[in-house]
């Protein structure tokens, strides 16, 4: 029987690892990620995960290295981190993706130091944009659990073979208790068959070395030419392109099997059908925006939300369709592409550049370092964007309006701000 529990986001992710029967877990603690691996280690200790090895390591770099090694031995593996810990993993994240290892990793998002912070924003998740992982954001603890399940299916699909991130907001989900349905192990096993790894280090017949120095050109051998780095990386890009279709497929199957859907697995529209104004956001910012949509609809504004679930691969075609009618798109970024603008805003502009219909895109920065984002602040942002939507000067500028700053309370005068 499926079981309904009151769980934090971290524990929901740990239960997902239990449901899929991860075989090797290695992690190093960092707030707000720690409870996810603490819970898994409890499962291992109590015998609830009898076939799981928990490897204690001395750093995040070792944690990801351990799971990369285990994945190359054909194991289903898991790790998790946040902010500075994630940054410390960077080198091996590239190694995991380049080796096309189907590992799944959670990010309990947290602001990067300095100054030191343990609270949420999305800067850490976006900072690993180009390592080659599939990247997803979730809005609830149930979605965290479900997305970990789906991610293994996608990552282990031979058309994909890519590692995947599941990012949930630090504290806002990681430490918030919500009701979560935990599915039957048998049913999960039907949905997620055993891993068929593409590499196994004990396969001495076929595996002679892993990732040796790969020259720029092809290596010509009598037994057949081998690809250069360039061809390997081309295949990684193609895998990302195929992944979109696979993710949609898996989301549909998940819905049939478990009765829960997150849009099409790519993005989640909310009251978007007839919307003239659309909010674009991920994670906690997207969920907070749902109430904003309701409030503004009551005021007569035809507004909706496109909550992005899949950030990498970036679903350009889907987004062109999603935004093909709206006049104005308001993007709330809980991150900054420093020296540019919000990362989501910049990427959406790039995605819609060649679209037949190009809405006005207005970006705002919100809630860095865990600053509470209130519905009122988002409402004010939307209203400002509507007011200024025909203002050419505003459109020509980059959009770095920080909502919810309290500079005046620090004694700055208006002209100094």
């Amino acid at each position: 029987m499926p079981e309904r529990k009151v769980l934090t986001g971290n524990h929901a992710a740990a239960y997902a690892c239990k449901s899929v029967g991860v075989e090797v877990v290695a992690a190093y603690p960092i707030t707000p990620q720690s409870p996810v691996v603490e819970k898994i280690s409890e499962f291992v200790e109590s015998g609830e995960l009898p076939n799981t090895q928990f490897v204690t390591v001395e750093s995040e770099q070792s944690a990801i290295s351990a799971v990369v090694a285990a994945s190359q031995m054909g194991a289903r593996v898991f790790t998790a981190s946040s902010a500075n810990g994630l940054a410390y993993m960077y080198e091996i994240l590239c190694w995991a993706a380049g080796s096309r290892l189907p590992l799944v990793m959670c990010i309990a998002t947290r602001a990067l130091g300095a100054p030191w912070s343990v609270w949420t924003d999305h800067q850490d998740a976006f900072s690993v944009r180009d390592v080659g992982f599939i990247q997803q954001f979730v809005e609830s603890n149930q979605e965290a659990y479900d997305t970990v399940l789906m991610s293994y299916r996608v990552a282990e699909d031979p058309r994909v073979y890519l590692p995947a991130f599941v990012s949930y907001d630090g504290y806002i989900l990681s430490h918030t208790m919500m009701s979560v349905q935990i599915e039957d192990d048998d049913k999960v096993r039907e949905f997620l068959p055993p891993l068929k790894p593409h590499i196994h280090l004990t396969d001495f017949e076929n595996v002679h070395s892993v990732n040796p120095v790969t020259p720029p050109g092809l290596t010509v051998r009598p037994e057949g030419n081998t690809p250069g780095y360039y061809e390997f990386r081309y295949s990684m890009q193609k895998a990302h392109e195929y992944a979109i279709e696979v993710i949609e497929e898996v989301a549909k199957e998940f819905e049939t099997k478990f009765g829960r859907a997150y849009g099409n697995g790519i993005y989640k529209p909310y009251k978007a059908d007839d919307a003239e104004v659309l909010i674009f956001a991920v994670g906690s910012v997207a969920s907070e925006s749902r109430g904003v949509v309701d409030t503004l609809r009551d005021e007569g504004i035809k507004i909706g939300l496109i909550s992005l679930k899949l950030y990498r691969p970036f679903p350009i075609q889907h987004l062109r369709k999603a935004f093909n009618k709206a006049k104005l798109v308001v993007v709330f970024d809980r991150d900054v592409g420093y020296g540019m603008e919000g990362i989501l805003a910049a990427e959406l502009k790039s995605a819609l550049y060649a679209a037949d219909h190009r809405p006005i895109i207005r970006g705002f920065i919100v809630g860095l370092g865990g600053r509470d984002i209130t519905a009122d602040q988002l409402i004010n942002g939307v209203k400002k964007a509507i007011e200024e939507q025909d203002n050419r000067e505003v459109q020509l500028d980059t959009h770095v309006d920080f909502i919810g700053l309290q500079l005046n309370e620090l004694g700055f005068k208006k002209e100094e701000i």
Binding site: L173, T176, M177, M178, S287, E288, I373
Partner: protein, 197 residues
Amino acid sequence: MIEIIFYGRGGMGAVTAGKILSNAAIISNNYPHVSTFPAFGTERRGAPVMAFCRISEKPIWIRSHIQKADYAIVLDETVFGDHVIARIKDKGALILNTHKCPEDVRKEYNIDPKKITVVTADLTQIAFDLKLTNRENQPIVNTSVLGVLTKSSLKIGIEDAKRAIINMFGEGPKTDLNIKAAEKAAENALVDEVKTV
């Protein structure tokens, strides 16, 4: 959606109270959706803390702190003050752990009888009477407060609260003591309802 803020001090179990309440809400079948989280800071024992709890018939999407609560629950009187009253909605309720009666609290803090219901219960005394204390001999009040809540307009009964307490701590003599405290708190709570006339 019903919004509840717990006020207490680090170590009193305000966060746990929210978790038990969430559990009770689900058990009651009246609120299948819950969201409970503390105002995270640099946690220390003894520092004033706040925990937020939302329970609802429909899915909950709001993720920000509760600005105004339907119920403000104060586990430690020394953190109570005007700032708490300011965060209670019109027709909301204050639940205060104190030996005072609601009328005295109302007078002392000038609480509008047309706006806020005041409920008091001496949870600290109940805990001492039952010898329900932690290792540092401090009274445990985060479970008994649920008994008080079952006397409010929330659709959560004492049986739901008891079940949730058992789910949280497992069966045992200490759990029984917590349940007894909750029952006693429900009996002893003094309620001064909002006057609608």
